[in-house]
Symmetry: C2
Subunit: 194 residues, 2 copies
Amino acid sequence: MHRVRVRVVEDALDANTTIAQANRADFDRAGVKVVNLMSAPGAGKTALLERVVVALDGVRVGVLEDDVQGSYDADRLASLHVPVTQINTDPGFGGECHLDANMVRSAIPALPLEEIDLLIVENVGNLVCPAEFHIGEDARVMVCSVTEGEDKPLKYPLMFRTCELVVVNKIDLLPHLDISVERLVANVQAVHPG
Amino acid sequence: MHRVRVRVVEDALDANTTIAQANRADFDRAGVKVVNLMSAPGAGKTALLERVVVALDGVRVGVLEDDVQGSYDADRLASLHVPVTQINTDPGFGGECHLDANMVRSAIPALPLEEIDLLIVENVGNLVCPAEFHIGEDARVMVCSVTEGEDKPLKYPLMFRTCELVVVNKIDLLPHLDISVERLVANVQAVHPG
């Protein structure tokens, strides 16, 4: 039983890669760079986006928001006058825990690709499955809050290994935590040297 | 393509329920109560366990630890002289993001059921899939850290709806956060009245 399920997932990953390549070709044709933004729930992806969207003066940014349910983050970002498209992954039994290439593909017609230079895709808050599914992105960025502890790279290595950039967040809380950023960074280096 | 995947998952959930009932029958026969402990990554499940295991004087506690990779939490708990069994869900392509009934079933022969009254199963840190898979537990408990924000019940409703108890953690950080426990509790009530 368990082996059958794993095979299904591997087939799904093969199909996902093919669709991700088609997405990437569409984004390249439109001259749009795509960032896949991932983290655990509540690490601060949306708060980071709110700052980045304002700071990126001269770059036309669009956002694709993905949540199991609701449009709370999309509403926050839309108030900044950035084009935001919402995907909900809830198919009726509790919600998909990640974005896959096919979900992004079905959102492409709704994206204003001619009006943006950079598309930031905010994935579902999860450190496991989003790392397995490429969506056609140019780069992967993850947000890691210091409140989650120093051990997350060791426990969720694939996520840290597949990202080009790890943003360490909520460092203003460090004086109140028994957490060392040096040990956190050393653990990132352990699973993703360089 | 997408519809086929959903059907596969629903079949898997049916099979999971059957195996969960078999697990529950085994636990009942042994007179062991089982708690399924869930949360986002780094919310403090293991830290809570370290306290609970010591505080539950007179109750013989065992722990089943589940992680994608490694045995960091199991090592922390074993030092408290509690029987700990480790499951790793990593099947080679990034790790399962949750425990299912079959994984727990395969661990049962390794559990010292005759020597414990209460088995606490620490699930993978994830707010989506663990909520969908019953493992044969008597109760579900989740840990929600205030550092994750007030909106988590609205964004991951199934998790909050299927738990008998939500433990609000890291409240010592409240003076340094723009977070209201009242609004968090109101959001829990909105998705799980009572």
